[in-house]
């Protein structure tokens, strides 16, 4: 037994061989039936590395049909898993990580010098010898985009029900409830009966969960940044749209609470080292709306201050918020018609978009920058729980 182990360690060249008839079993055990939890504690993206080592052996034996068949089955297997788990963040994130990693491997070991600059000499030995898989890389890139879109859809679906109550209705600043506009004090949302109320902490908990899962699964850091930019944009759009339609939240106190909530979200991004995501920048319209609620709205100087501050809000949005603005009590005045006219006059040269509401379903285009791995194929160990004993190390 000892002799066998020694031979394997010495000779393993980072390739995996299997019989053609075992391909279906390979895809079943490694893709369609795999539970991400089974792989906790192993190298992130292990399925991608195993698949690459199988592709490499088929390339080494110059078996183009085997390469075609394995890649096609892999891609179809991944699509099948995603369809079955189309509301499972963890599963979707897992296959996004692995699809991107397989794509990176096909680049890193393509033999194309542009992708080999960070390879060690040992890694260069693990390049493909016979086939150029550029077209399959395109397919994997298209598949990665599909998986990313599914991931965002799932994350948005989980966050969206929390946004209005957490951002606009929940009062975490002590003493603020005493200064809510009269007549609206007890109202929550027109669609929420109070039981579905969330605080900002719920949003933060949910985002912590997303972030931990994506990091543990080895999803590329650049992709994680793009996920949070997209989610912050959605939080911004849903909150602003509600603000633009609800008189009861257009008040000084909501402005104050909103600014505090946004600062908590900024703090969260910093705490997770995600400030480069651009998430805060996507919230600029909401930040300005919160400030607009808090600014004085009476004199010519106030109008000028508003116009120079609210550059990310359209004239239509500014005017709408001013019209909806609800005084706190009998001592605060409503915004006068003449003040709103002054603002309109000052902003008339702006070439603003006509629609009032933001498209909360808008998606930023995603990019998957090449991210080579420092891992060497011959160091990868296949755990017994994967039931892949029919793979022979070569």
């Amino acid at each position: 037994r000892q002799v066998t182990v020694q031979r394997k360690e010495k000779d393993f060249q980072g390739m995996l061989e299997y019989h053609k008839e075992d391909e279906a079993l390979l895809i079943r055990n490694l893709v369609t039936d795999l539970k991400p939890q089974m792989l906790s504690g192993t190298v992130p993206c292990l399925p991608a590395y195993i698949l690459y080592m199988c592709i490499r052996h088929a390339d080494y034996t110059n078996d183009d049909l085997k390469v075609h068949s394995l890649l096609t089955s892999t891609i179809n297997g991944i699509k099948k898993v995603l369809k079955k788990h189309n509301d499972d963040f963890e599963m979707t994130s897992f296959w996004l990580s692995n699809t991107c990693r397989l794509l990176h491997c096909l680049k890193q070991y393509s033999g194309d010098e542009g992708f080999m600059t960070q390879n060690t000499a040992k890694q260069n030995e693990h390049c493909l010898k016979n086939f150029d898989l550029t077209e399959y890389r395109q397919v994997l890139s298209d598949l990665s985009i599909q998986i990313y879109q599914q991931l965002i859809k799932i994350a948005e679906g989980l966050l969206q029900p929390m946004i209005v109550s957490a951002m606009l209705e929940n009062e975490s600043i002590q003493g603020l409830s005493g200064v809510k506009p009269t007549g609206y004090r007890k109202r929550s949302s027109s669609m929420v009966d109070g039981e579905n109320s969330y605080c900002l902490e719920a949003i933060i908990r949910q985002m912590n969960s997303f972030h931990t899962i994506m990091c543990d699964q080895g999803l590329d850091p650049e992709i994680i940044l793009q996920v949070f930019k997209q989610l912050f944009y959605m939080i911004n759009a849903v909150t602003l749209n509600n603000l633009l339609l609800r008189k009861d939240v257009c008040s000084w106190s909501t402005g104050m609470q909103l600014r505090y909530n946004i600062s908590q979200l900024e703090e969260w991004l910093r705490g997770r080292n995600l400030q480069q995501s651009g998430g805060v920048q996507t919230m600029e319209p909401l930040i300005q709306a919160a400030q607009l609620l808090q600014l004085k709205k009476k004199t010519q100087e106030d109008a000028e201050a508003i116009c120079s501050l609210c550059t990310s809000l359209s004239t239509q949005q500014i005017v709408k918020i001013l019209n909806l603005y609800t005084p706190l009590n009998e001592f605060e005045e409503r915004v006068t018609v003449s003040f709103i006219r002054t603002i309109q006059a000052q902003l008339q040269e702006r070439n603003d978009p006509q629609q009032l509401l933001l498209d909360f379903k808008h998606m930023f285009p995603v990019l998957f920058p090449f991210n080579p791995s420092s891992l060497t194929m011959d160091s990868i160990h296949i755990p017994a729980c994967l039931n892949l004993e029919f793979l022979n190390e070569v």
Binding site: D64, V67, H68, L71, T72, I75, N76, K79, G111, L128, K129, N130, F131, D132, L133, T134, E135, Y136, Q138, V139, D142, L143, Q146
Partner: protein, 31 residues
């Protein structure tokens, strides 16, 4: 070093949409 690798053969791949079509028709054919 001195060994110059021979050019690799481009493996043609269907697009993702074409793969989907092939997969769907296979599923339809099977009972």
């Amino acid at each position: 070093g001195s060994q110059r690798p021979r050019p690799r053969v481009l493996l043609k791949a269907p697009t993702l949409a074409e793969m989907e079509e092939m997969n769907t028709s296979e599923e339809e054919e099977s009972p």
